[in-house]
């Protein structure tokens, strides 16, 4: 059951989460220095990087689908916008023409460069931040325009309409006429990516490759959690549970649905920027509807409506598909040697079966509708009760 918290408990939990996140970030920073790209443990860093991208994508989708009840399948489209915006505004001017081989690049500056020249290394970091925020804003802007006609549709139609818009966005980004901006059907590269994220303090060089995406994800997810716990978050849940009653109690449906949609899409855009950062390329064909489906499955795996569930679900998904089940693709798994079965693609098959099992038999997902903090809180209260009874 979702635990109802006293204000005292609430404050404790908030501080605990804050410090736990700080500790986690510290750990990630440490791992960044200790694990080199050549190490066999490097997979852990890749999982952390990709995991944080998908964690943010899943949490932002959960805000829209799980909390507000708007079944939208357009997430990949907004991530695409975010990825491209980020890439376009962080390609150094020196590399501009090599990247835009066939076109005359329209955007000729890069935020990290501009700020970096003015303010030194801190400026470069600021430039990256500005580009990420701009990525989110662009995605939110498109979401606003798309939301105007689409948000009043019934759930099934909303799903297909948003799916359609995502496909339209993808086609538009690949259109040769927009080549000067999007590079047409060619991918974007050479922009600010994780392998380049370093901090130089005197004579020490700190690698920030995993730290930066995890930091961005952590901050973004914290903001989303605060939104969900606010009066607006409760209004969203009211819309999900019964929108007729919500409207009767003074909640303007169009306005609140639009808020949820644009905020969710903003963070989808940020996740897209992170994806570009982590993959080092931005390519429209990566952002097909299959990506939206995968994120949806991550949300379902974790439990629709639960933010910690979405985070857990996405890290599990990434770890399993990229790392743990790797053996299923390369002949030997858990000591069983069967190269005829365990070949390329088997990993995804096993994974899809697991997902189907969850969807059919564990519909609540891992967390149901609860958060990690609820589980912890219930346990703590049970322990306190036992202590009282024992006295």
């Amino acid at each position: 059951m979702k635990a109802v918290r006293t204000p005292e408990e609430n404050r404790r939990i908030s501080w605990f989460c804050f410090f736990a996140t700080l500790a986690f970030l510290g750990l990630v920073l440490l791992l960044d220095q200790l694990i080199k790209p050549t190490s066999p443990m490097y997979m852990l860093l890749t999982v952390l990087q990709k995991g944080s991208v998908y964690a943010l994508a899943a949490v932002s989708m959960n805000l829209l689908n799980g909390c507000t009840g708007l079944f939208s399948l357009g997430h990949a489209g907004f991530m695409l916008i975010g990825a491209y915006t980020y890439a376009i505004f962080t390609i150094p001017s020196a590399s501009r023409d090599t990247v835009y081989q066939y076109y005359d690049a329209a955007v000729r500056f890069s935020f990290p460069e501009v700020f970096g020249n003015a303010m030194g290394p801190a400026g470069t970091a600021l430039g990256v931040l500005v580009a990420v925020i701009l990525a989110g804003l662009m995605a939110a802007a498109f979401a606003y325009l798309i939301g105007l006609p689409v948000l009043r549709l019934k759930s099934d139609y909303l799903a297909i309409a948003t799916l359609g818009f995502a496909e339209i966005l993808r086609a538009v980004c690949q259109w040769q006429k927009l080549g000067p901006i999007t590079n047409g059907s060619n991918l974007l590269k050479s922009f600010a990516r994780v392998s380049k994220f370093k901090l130089v303090l005197g004579s020490t060089k700190l690698t920030l490759s995993t730290f930066v995406p995890v930091l961005i994800a952590a901050v973004s997810i914290m903001i989303i959690v605060k939104l969900i716990n606010s009066t607006y978050g409760r209004a969203f849940k009211a819309i999900r549970d019964d929108e007729v009653a919500a409207e009767a109690m003074g909640i303007n449906l169009a306005r609140h649905k639009m808020i949820s949609f644009t905020v969710s899409s903003f963070f989808a855009g940020v996740a897209g920027a992170m994806m570009a950062m982590v993959l080092s390329i931005a390519q429209a064909s990566n952002f097909k509807s299959a990506m939206t489906y995968e994120i949806l499955l991550m949300v379902v795996l974790g439990g629709i409506g639960s933010t910690s569930g979405s985070v857990i679900g996405s890290f599990l998904f990434v770890a399993a598909s990229e790392w743990w089940l790797r053996g299923l693709d390369s002949g030997t798994f858990l000591g069983i040697n069967a190269p005829n079965i365990f070949r390329n693609g088997f990993r995804l098959v096993v994974f899809s079966v697991i997902i189907m099992i969850v969807v059919l038999f564990f519909r609540q997902g891992i967390m149901g509708e609860r958060e990690l903090t609820d589980v912890w809180l219930n346990r703590r209260r049970a322990r306190q009760k036992k202590k009282e009874a024992g006295k």
């Binding site: 309409a161 799916l163 949806l296 499955l297 693609g345 088997f346 899809s352 059919l360």
Partner: protein, 306 residues
Amino acid sequence: MDKTILPYLISGVSVGGQYALIAIGYTMVYGILRLINFAHGDVFMVAGLMMVYAAAAMPLSLAIPLVIILTVLLGFTIERVAYRPLRTAPRMSVMISAIGVSYLLQNLALYITGGLNKNYPQIPWISDRVTVLGMETSRVTIITPFLTVFLVVLLVLLINHTKIGMAMRAVSLNFETSQLMGIRINSVISATFIIGTFLAAVGSMLFFTNYPGVVPTSGAMPGLKAFVAAVFGGIGSIPGAVIGAFIIGIAESLIKGLDTILIVNGTITEQIGLATFSDAFTFVLLIIILVFKPTGLFGEKTTDKV
């Protein structure tokens, strides 16, 4: 001018017919279960793959009926395993299950084919080249629309003049009451899936004869477009889905050739890459119909009771 447009028109009518055969499956299932069967397009793709492997192992006269039977079996099984258990669950759960099945089918196909493009076998006679209206094309392009209309007419007759057809109509109008009136819901639903999948299997044979490359994602786009066709024509209406599919097929084909047409026409002087939008156009159409007439061209309006 005619000479430029005609090949696109003809190929558009043909692909429209293939979409129609898929669209019917979507619209029938949605009419009865209010479920968007995301896996339907992938079943279509699996039918294509099955033919590739079957044709390599046995003569076509055996392969064709075998593939049809296996595909129908697949559709039937999917309903039993992935949709029936969730019938009492909230709508989103079933849709997510459909997405899960779609994901599984695509990954299975990827695994089995090893990621390689598979080439669809040439079915003699329908893949022969013929000359029609001064234009050279393959026979399948000409046959498809006729075959489609024929099958649709058969289906409409079945729906309107048989007991099972009446049961289907009843269930799509009111699920609960039909159950209370003693209609065997499970049989009706299974029959719906069987018919829809059968048509998709036939459609796959026609489609892949025209576009012989079969990849795991071959079903995604046609499936999506077929669904849009069903929505466009009015979800639950079979003639509507068919008309919608033909419109989409023709529009898609014309847009693919739009650059060429406009150049010959004199409207533009050079290629502006409008073909990129041939897929996207389907969705523009979808948005337009959803915004202006969500019940589709032939759909019926229902008011919700508060």
